[in-house]
């Protein structure tokens, strides 16, 4: 059954049809939540909440991109989770279980175990950098750079302008970059960013 038919059936309350949509999108939804929240349990809660909310709100879905509509619900569920977390602060982000219970798909089977471990360390730092971003920048960066959505799609999901997407993404990327550079000494050499050339900010290039 194609997606439109499933959506039409789900709008009429067909749980089975909706569950087919869940199966299609739960990977995306969970990954977005996981990257924004950096907490497997909270991400699972946000994902489940999202699908329940989505099923209840199916009647309000007025066509367009189901993916964008669903991801907006997911990001809102993530904001709710973060609000709950702020009310009951747990340990610091660094102390959170860092992808320990998630095995990564080896994208290149030729990667040696050492390289695999090193790559995991890089990913951990990137994820920590994302987690340090303000929530709005985090959402934009996850949707755009982690999930590969276009600027327009991100703008649709978050219901903001293209300009807002651009500026949030620009600031978010810069902060992650800075975070990477800061933690660079912990990383293998090939995952270190080169040092910034000195004194150019002072206008030396203007001469």
């Amino acid at each position: 059954m194609d997606e439109d038919a499933l959506i039409a059936a789900a709008r009429k309350g067909d749980v089975r049809a909706f569950n087919q949509l869940v199966v299609r999108y739960q990977g995306l939804a969970y990954n977005v939540a996981y990257r924004i929240l950096y907490d497997p349990d909270a991400a699972a809660d946000a994902t489940q909440d999202s699908f329940f909310s989505a099923f209840r709100a199916m009647g309000k879905f007025r066509g367009g991109s189901f993916k964008a509509w669903l991801l907006r619900i997911v990001t809102n569920a993530c904001y709710d989770q973060l609000r709950v977390k702020q009310r009951r602060p747990t340990s610091s982000l660094d102390a959170l279980p860092v992808e320990a219970d998630h095995t990564y798909y080896l994208e290149d089977s030729s990667e040696l175990p050492d390289e695999y471990v090193e790559r995991q360390e890089l990913n951990r730092v990137i994820q920590a950098g994302i987690a340090h971003l303000p929530v709005e920048q985090r959402a934009v960066l996850v949707l755009s750079d982690v999930q590969g959505l276009s600027y327009q799609e991100v703008a649709d999901v978050l219901d903001v302008s293209l300009g807002t997407v651009k500026s949030r993404l620009s600031r978010g990327r810069a902060k992650v970059r800075d975070f990477l550079q800061e933690k660079g000494e912990l990383l293998p050499r090939r995952y270190r960013l080169s040092d910034e050339p000195e004194a150019e900010h002072t206008g030396g290039h203007a001469q």
């Binding site: 569950n19 994902t47 798909y105 750079d145 600027y151 990327r173 995952y191 910034e196 290039h205």
Partner: protein, 336 residues
């Protein structure tokens, strides 16, 4: 030159902010041109762009994490059929109890109607003629009820011997008839008929309503003549009179009577009746303990027939239900 430096600084910051979009090819051609011109002369922005590109590259290579579980929504519970299946047994049990109760009432009612006397033993046709004479103080109104109830007539043997003998026993109490309210019961035996099994239930309800004067004697006798066992076998003698016709005819004291309604509907085919006088006498000798009103006694045989029928139906139903209940309970236990 400070204004120029400030201008360059502003341009640098503007370009810096556009590097992210430049990376994604999201700039207008004019903007892109400006960025490229600035990049050519700005090592800081070159570094900026390079590191941003690397960061974005690594970020996009973050792997997809595996979904820890499925997030499908539970389909509304469907053990409804199972629940319905188990309710089957209580319903059967209830129905069995109800039928048993009804059967009890039917038997009790039967016993009351027959004055707790055992039903005459087979062989098997029982015809009872109940007559009640009005009390002598009111000679103008007499109700007579005539009922024939024949149950489960099993006829075996030959058809030749078909004949009806009058019940001689009736004559004896006839003289005293007006004195007592007394039902007259006559038991008829069925003579053997050829290999036929007949089930018959017959009922006569006759009410002699008051008629003015004594005009009715002849009419009475005549109408009673019509009370024959309809549907009798063609082999039976045509003159075969019904018992109901004989019995009241020998009650001369019940003169001011007229029959208003008289029906007889036997389902039997070959029926011959020869009452053994002994049985008849036995029945007659017992006085009715029931001082029922005339109208009630008129209805009683009909009720009795209904009760007997109900007993039969309820009995069969009870057997079926008990069997079904036991079977269903055993099946349920085997399923658990």
């Amino acid at each position: 030159m400070s204004w120029l430096r400030r201008g360059k600084q502003t341009e640098h910051r503007t370009i810096e902010e556009k590097l992210s979009a430049y990376l994604d090819g999201e700039l207008l051609p004019k903007e892109r041109e400006a960025v490229e011109q600035h990049l050519a002369v700005c090592p800081s922005c070159q570094w900026n762009l390079k590191t941003l590109r690397q960061t974005v590259q690594w970020t996009s290579e973050l792997p997809m994490v595996r979904v820890p579980r499925t997030f499908t929504i539970p389909v509304p519970a469907r053990p409804a059929p199972a629940v319905r299946r188990w309710r089957f047994v209580p319903v059967l049990q209830g129905a069995t109890a109800l039928v048993a109760l009804l059967l009890f009432f039917a038997v009790a009612g039967d016993a009351m109607l027959t004055d707790f006397r055992p039903v005459t033993t087979p062989p098997v046709a029982t015809q009872s003629v109940a007559r009640e004479a009005a009390s002598p103080t009111e000679p103008g109104s007499v109700d007579v009820a005539v009922t024939v109830v024949a149950e489960m007539v099993v006829v075996e043997g030959e058809a030749e011997g078909l004949m009806v003998q009058e019940a001689p026993a009736v004559e004896a109490p006839a003289a005293e008839e007006p004195a007592v309210e007394e039902p007259v019961r006559i038991t008829l035996e069925v003579a053997p008929a050829e290999g036929v099994t007949v089930t018959a239930a017959a009922e006569i309800d006759a009410t002699l309503a008051p008629v003015g004067g004594g005009e009715a004697v002849e009419e009475d006798a005549q109408e009673q003549e019509t009370v024959v066992v309809e549907g009798a076998a063609p082999t039976a003698p045509p003159s075969e009179p019904s018992l109901a016709a004989e019995a009241p005819a020998e009650l001369p004291t019940a003169t001011p009577t007229a029959m208003e309604a008289l029906t007889l509907e036997p389902a039997s085919t070959e029926v011959a009746m020869s009452p053994p006088s002994g049985q008849a006498e036995e029945v007659l000798s017992a006085p009715s303990p029931e001082p029922a009103s005339d109208r009630r006694t008129g209805l009683r045989p009909a009720v009795l027939a209904g009760v007997r029928w109900a007993e039969y139906v309820l009995g069969v139903l009870l057997i079926v239900l008990v069997g079904a209940t036991i079977g269903a309970m055993a099946w349920r236990r085997s399923r658990r």
